[in-house]
Structures are given as structure tokens and as C-alpha cells.
């Protein structure tokens, strides 16, 4: 079946819905999503959205800009960061106007809490910048923006999985091919402008906070159509995932005063980040946890530590640090505060760890969380195809699938929610503007044949391999070799290993030969996407001979601004090889300097 829209948006998380909301004001727009929109992973964001409202203490967008650039280990493009942090405040007000139920201060304004890496630039102490709705801020953002889409009659194609990106011979993007999950039929969506907001690909790793759906379909489809991926070596491991399960426990726990404790009962973050301690940026905290474990100071010598938010513990450290509220009174945490401000994480701990965080510490380990890299875009959210930032006509991307780059080598907590809204809005507006002046891009005859052939190959595949086993092996391999600490040898093994797994996938048959709701077929297809992205990640990581942000090379432990202050671009070549190119970082007011927290 063929559909024609001025603008199509792929993905219905925060970025996709925001893009759709804005595009639909000026263009015939449709959203295609493999999930019902309210199932999108934006809904699992917990602690808050960063914006320098200054509602609770002095704060300025300039401080937010500097913190983001420092957090990025100076790899972020400073012009884009300026847009992100300046527009963050109006974006948060817009969410409030849409009805988002933010928590409130005593005088009725939006409440804010401290978060990792967000500081008062003068005192260097943590600043209250994360605007929150309990610990379900992402849930409220997703719901609120979806509600606005309903109000504005946005057209949705729910449970359609995009399996190919269409490009004309001239290189313009002409839309997508999507599989209607219920019927199993392929649909062509022909569009003047296409927006990708397809999210991340954290399912590459064994321990992950990411949903099953986060298989990088959009990123892989883009890569397979000859476009580069940017900064794929930079992948964030969030410090506090629930042991074994990887379920996220928000940084807001530490924002409320929680501390990390090792097997000897010591609060260890002051050793690694003397000023902000447990609220250092995520790369720093994840490495510190691994160092403790490596030196035998995990809990019972094992591979995890505790996150402790028991009021007694927290208040002891508040007293020790003479922590103050904005009004100057001594800062204290009560059991009731935890019930009120962190209800969901309390629920997760009770359900999955059988632990009540008011009475017991929580067993945590770093968990694969967020792709700083992705589809390269400029700050108008338009996809670019090379180191000269040549735009791809008719193609936009926003959110985790995109790399603007506002997060550089390490994203600060709360900034992903800012990113999806600010750049989602820009993608939607710009796509609609572009569509208003553009003709229909050429659509090849039988444009969906390549996608059909690919899926048919999976359907008719024979052999003795198993999709589930290959998936498990990939996740273990990537966790062991392309995680928080990396070396040449580990990365070389990962590349060889992933390439073997890709070959084996060609010999992994599926049992379900049906048309309707064939999720086995889709899972096999998604694993192919993940393997492509795992390979690019490992190749880009092997090539980068320095340590920066989330990319830490034990054989190159220092940041090297002379040779490596640049973004990587990875292209898939026709012969199965990956070609790497690099482009300069856009600097600005802030010269790179040593990063101390």
C-alpha cells in the first residue's frame, strides 16, 4: 500500500511527538511507530528535565551551557549546546502550559532538584536545575505531548515497523518502507520530508536500562543507505542500574542526597570527585564504581556496590558536609520525602530487589543507557552526509537516534529530555517548512523490493543457529569488551566476534512463517540492526586512541586534544568494510581544559 504525506515522522517518543505536533501545524503529517506512542521509552525517564529556571536558587542558562560542554568532555558542538540550554527554559514553560504536572515549590512554581554535573559555576557546588514530576518526569512528558497530538488530530500509524529508508538516485530522502505488524503487509510512505526519531540501541549490551524496543532500527536503516553515523564510540553507562536487571535508578536519588557505598561501607565518590562527590557526571561515577569493584571493594567482593538513600545515612553526610537548603536551613531527608519524591524507584526496588530503600541500601551496577552518537545532524535537525556538513535533502533526525552533537562524549543527566523537545520541535518545524517548498522526491519503481527481499531472506533462512543465542552472545561480548573500560585487544576481539555473529545470523532460521504479528521475524531483523551498530561502535572505539568522556581506553588513558578533538563519522562501504572519517568540533566560548569534579 502507498501513502503520501508532506511529512512523516518515524518514532513516537518525545522527539517524534514534538516533531509531529509542530510539523502538523503546517503540513500533512503522519507518525509511524512500532509501539503505541505511550509505550515509548521517553516514558521511563525519571529524575527531571534540566532548565536554568532559577526557581529555587540562582542559576543561569550560561551555567547550564558550560556544564553541558564540560560534561561532554569538550566534544559537544558549542553552538548547538547554546541552543539546547537557552531554549530549555522556554521549552519547560511550554510543557507546563500544555498541562504537564510538574511538582511545585511552596510558592507554586516548578520545583527543581540537583543532578549530576549541573553546578553553580561560581561555587562549583551542585545546583537545583532538574525540573521534576516525582520520579516519573519522562512519563509525564510523553503523556503530555501525546495528549497535545490527540488534541491536534495528528495522524498515527501505530504498530508499523520501519524496515527501510527510501532515497532517490539524487540522494534525497523520499520516505520509508514499514511493515504493518498486524497484517504483515508492507506499506510505502512517500514523503517530501522524513523525520527520524527512532531512539537508541542499548539492547546491544547485556546489562541495559533500555527497553526491548530499542534496537536502533532507524539508525541502522540510515547507515545501510550510505549515510554516516557520528561519534558511535561514545556510549553512556549509567552508574546506577538495578543489579543484573539494569533497570534505571535515577540520578535524582543522589540528587536527593543518596550516596554510593562500597563493600567496606565507605562512601567512595569523594575520592574521585572531591567537590561534587556523588553528583559527578555519569562517566566519572561509572568508572569509579568499576575501580572499586576491581580493587576488591564491591559488596562481598562481588561486582556491585550499594546506592544508599536511607534517611539516617543521608542525614549523616548532610551534617558532615553542612548541606543547606536554599533558604539557609540545614538540609535533611525524611522517609516521607522518599515516598513523595521517589515513589517509582521505591516500587522498583521492592518489586525487583525485595528491598525497601527507606530501610535498606540498593544493589546497583553500571547499566548501558544512552547513545551520544547517531545520525549526524546540524542544529536545525537536518541530517548531514559528510565532514563538510552537506545536508541530505528532505531528511531530519532528533532525539537519541541523532547526533547534533549536544552531548559530545558524555551526556549530562536531564539533557536527553531537553534534547528530544528542543530538537524534536526544530525537526518538525523545519521538515514542514521544507515540505512546503519542495516537490515530490522521485520514488523508484518497486521501491519496497529491497526490504521485502531482506525480510524474505530471514523467513526462508535455514541452518542450525539460533537468533536468541546470537543475541545473547552479542550482548555478553559487547558488555565485556566494549563497556566502561576498553583496550585495543578487547576491541579487536569484539570486532571479530561481532562479524562472526553477523555471519551466523544468516544461518539462524525462524519458526513462525506466518504473516500476522510475526514478532519472531521482526526480532531477527532487529538483531541484524543491532549487530551492524555493535560493529560500528567497536570499530569507532578501536580507532580512537584517547580517553574522552564515556570512551575510556586503558591503553590511552589521557584525553588528546591535539589529535582527537574531533567527531568520528563511520560509513558502511559496499564491501562490508567500515570507513572512518572525522570532522572538527565547533568550539566557541569555552576552550577545552582539564575536567575535574
Amino acid at each position: 500500500m502507498l501513502h503520501r504525506f508532506d511529512v512523516i515522522v518515524v518514532g513516537a517518543g518525545g522527539a517524534g511527538l514534538m516533531a509531529a505536533l509542530y510539523a502538523s501545524r503546517g503540513a500533512r503529517t503522519a507518525v509511524i511507530s512500532k509501539l503505541y506512542p505511550t509505550r515509548s521509552h521517553t516514558g521511563t525517564a525519571q529524575g527531571g528535565i534540566g532548565a536554568a529556571l532559577g526557581n529555587m536558587e540562582e542559576d543561569h542558562p550560561e551555567w547550564h551551557i558550560f556544564d553541558t560542554i564540560k560534561g561532554s568532555d569538550y566534544l559537544a558542538d558549542q553552538d548547538a549546546v547554546e541552543i539546547l540550554c537557552t531554549e530549555a527554559t522556554s521549552m519547560v514553560y511550554e510543557l507546563e502550559h500544555m498541562g504537564l504536572p510538574f511538582d511545585r515549590t511552596a510558592d507554586g512554581r516548578i520545583a527543581q532538584r540537583p543532578f549530576g554535573g549541573h553546578t553553580n559555576n561560581e561555587t562549583k557546588q551542585p545546583v537545583r536545575r532538574a525540573c521534576h514530576a516525582a520520579d516519573r518526569t519522562g512519563h509525564m512528558i510523553l503523556q503530555t505531548v501525546y495528549q497535545q497530538c490527540i488534541k491536534n488530530n495528528v495522524t498515527f500509524f501505530d504498530e508499523f515497523e520501519v524496515v527501510d529508508l527510501l532515497r532517490s538516485d539524487a540522494g534525497d530522502v523520499a520516505g520509508v518502507v514499514a511493515l504493518h505488524i498486524d497484517s504483515g503487509e508492507q506499506h510505502i510512505f512517500h514523503a517530501k520530508a522524513t523525520v527520524f526519531a527512532t531512539g537508541g540501541f542499548g539492547r546491544i549490551w547485556k546489562i541495559t536500562s533500555n527497553a526491548y524496543a530499542l534496537t536502533g532500527d532507524g539508525v541502522a536503516a540510515t547507515y545501510r543507505r550510505g549515510l554516516p553515523l557520528e561519534d558511535m564510540e561514545f556510549y553512556q553507562f549509567h552508574p546506577t542500574g538495578i543489579l543484573k536487571l539494569g533497570i534505571l535508578l535515577t540520578e535524582g536519588v543522589r540528587g536527593e542526597g543518596g550516596v554510593l557505598v562500597n563493600g567496606k561501607g565507605e562512601r567512595f565518590m569523594p575520592k574521585y570527585a572531591p567537590t561534587v562527590k556523588d553528583l559527578a557526571s555519569r562517566d566519572v561515577v561509572s568508572r569509579a564504581i568499576y575501580m572499586e569493584i576491581r580493587e576488591g571493594r564491591g559488596i562481598d567482593g562481588k561486582d556491585y556496590v550499594y546506592l544508599d538513600v536511607r534517611p539516617n545515612t543521608v542525614n549523616r553526610y548532610f551534617e558532615q558536609d553542612s548541606a543547606k537548603n536554599p533558604d539557609g536551613t540545614p538540609r535533611r531527608l525524611t522517609a516521607d520525602d522518599i515516598h513523595r519524591k521517589l515513589p517509582d524507584i521505591s516500587d522498583f526496588c521492592k518489586t525487583y530487589l525485595q528491598v525497601d530503600p527507606i530501610k535498606q541500601p540498593m544493589a546497583i551496577q553500571p547499566t548501558a543507557h544512552y547513545a551520544m552518537g547517531g545520525i549526524p545532524t546540524d542544529s536545525n535537525a537536518q541530517v548531514v552526509m559528510d565532514a563538510r556538513n552537506t545536508p541530505v535533502p528532505g531528511f531530519y533526525a532528533a532525539g537519541e537516534c541523532a547526533c547534533v552533537s549536544v552531548h559530545g562524549a558524555n551526556r549530562l543527566g536531564t539533557n536527553s529530555l531537553v534534547d528530544i523537545l528542543v530538537f524534536g520541535q526544530r525537526a518538525g518545524r523545519n521538515a514542514a517548512d521544507y515540505a512546503a517548498g519542495a516537490g515530490w522526491p522521485a520514488l523508484a519503481h518497486n521501491a519496497d523490493d529491497p526490504a521485502r527481499a531482506r525480510l524474505e531472506r530471514i523467513r526462508s533462512c535455514t541452518g542450525t543457529e539460533s537468533v536468541a543465542d546470537i543475541r545473547r552472545e552479542m550482548r555478553e561480548l559487547m558488555m565485556d569488551n566494549v563497556g566502561v573500560f576498553r583496550t585495543q585487544a578487547m576491541l579487536a576481539d569484539a570486532i571479530t566476534g561481532v562479524r562472526e555473529l553477523k555471519e551466523r545470523l544468516d544461518r539462524a532460521p525462524i519458526m513462525d512463517k506466518g504473516q500476522r504479528w510475526n514478532t519472531e521475524l521482526l526480532e531477527a531483523w532487529e538483531l541484524g540492526c543491532l549487530l551492524d551498530l555493535a560493529e560500528v561502535t567497536a570499530v569507532a572505539a578501536e580507532a580512537r586512541h584517547e580517553s574522552r568522556g564515556a570512551h575510556f581506553r586503558e591503553d590511552f588513558p589521557e584525553r588528546d586534544d591535539v589529535n582527537w578533538l574531533k567527531h568520528s563519522l563511520a560509513y558502511g562501504e559496499g564491501d562490508g568494510q567500515i570507513r572512518l572519517d572525522y570532522k572538527p568540533v565547533t568550539l566557541g566560548r569555552y576552550e577545552p581544559k582539564a575536567r575535574v569534579y
Binding site: G99, H139, Q148, I150, D347, V467
Partner: protein, 231 residues
Amino acid sequence: MKVRVKIRRFNPEKDRRPHWADYSVDAEKTDRILDLLVEIKGHQDGSLTFRRSCAHGICGSDALVINGRNRLACKVLVMDVGRNIVVEPLRGLPVIKDLAVDMEPFFAQYRSIKPFLINDDPPPYTERLQSREARARYDETTKCILCAACTTACPSFWASDSYVGPAAIVQAHRFIFDDRDQGAQVRLAILSGGNGVFRCRTIYNCVEACPRDIDITRAIGEVKKALLVGE
């Protein structure tokens, strides 16, 4: 340990009616029921069909009937239900394939109550002010993840699928009791109709089913009261 998982299955391309299938799975007591379904799909029968995404109780994809009760498969552990596990699709919505039901009627009911803030006043430059008390008034109903566990546990919904159902009323409550919203009368008018709140017979199944611990019957009661005596 070995657990026995009995699943109600239906393949629309092969079966005329649903049937039961039995699986034996190695499990830890802390495994989620979702983990067992994933294990069966990965290693025993790839055609087993179910929805899942976040796997920790937030996205609302995997509401199922587990040992007779509506719950999220990712929020129930083996130790919560024991070694004999029975999994069925939600009741009251058409089954598409195995555990996947047609969610469209559910979302149509949701949309019918105008689930968006209605306020045409020009907004201020910054945020509208809202007191903590006013914010707390509707806090509980903002937790809803639209998983449909409540609506599909409701005998009134089973009896008539034109009833808007508890989830839609929870969503209406979230706006009716938000002092920034001006659409209460419109929503109350919708909910006062034959398919509205008075179909609720306070059976409390919804409260028991809700994975977010929302006191749904109370929320419905508050909407009824608003209709009868005003907010």
C-alpha cells in the same frame, strides 16, 4: 528450578479457536513472568506472540491475565505466583494472536474523554502557578500508564464494551481535578451519559488490577460526586 507455564494460544492464520499450550522452563524465583515468555519464544516456540517493551512496569505493554489476575508480566515474579503459571490474554478485547489483543477499542475510549488540558487563556511568559495542594489533588491519576489492566478486569466493561471503562475515567479525573483545566464540564457531560461513570458498580476489580496502585474506584467515586454535587 523448573516451572510450568501454561499459555492460552491462538494463531489467526491456523486456529479456529484458542487452545492451551504447556511449557516447562528453568527459572529463578526472581525471574519476571516476562522473562519466561521471552525464554519460551527464544528457545521453544518462536511463534509465541506478546507485546513487551520497557520490562519494568512503566510502558504498559504487557498487561496479561496471570494466574487469573490482570497484571504486568514484567512486574510479577515467579516467587509471587509459584511454579504453576497460567498466562492468558486480557479479557474483553478481541484477541489478535496469542497474548496480543486489539487495543484500538481501549484507546478509542481513552480519546473520547478529551485527554488533554483544556485552557484557552493566553499563558503567562513563565509557568502558571499551582499550589502544592492543588497539584496533590490529581497526583495519583497522573500515574496511569494506559496498560488496560483495570478496564479489562471490569465486569461492567465485559458486559458492555461501550462503557468508557475505568482507565478512561482515571484519565478524565486527572484533568477534572487539575485547577489549570477548564474542561471539567465537557468531560463530566460525557461521563454522565449511559456509557459513563454510572456503569461502575464499585466492584473494585480495577483497584486490584492496577500495577501503579492507583485507587481507581475512589477516583471514579470522586468523578461521580462531582457530577452529583459539583467539584
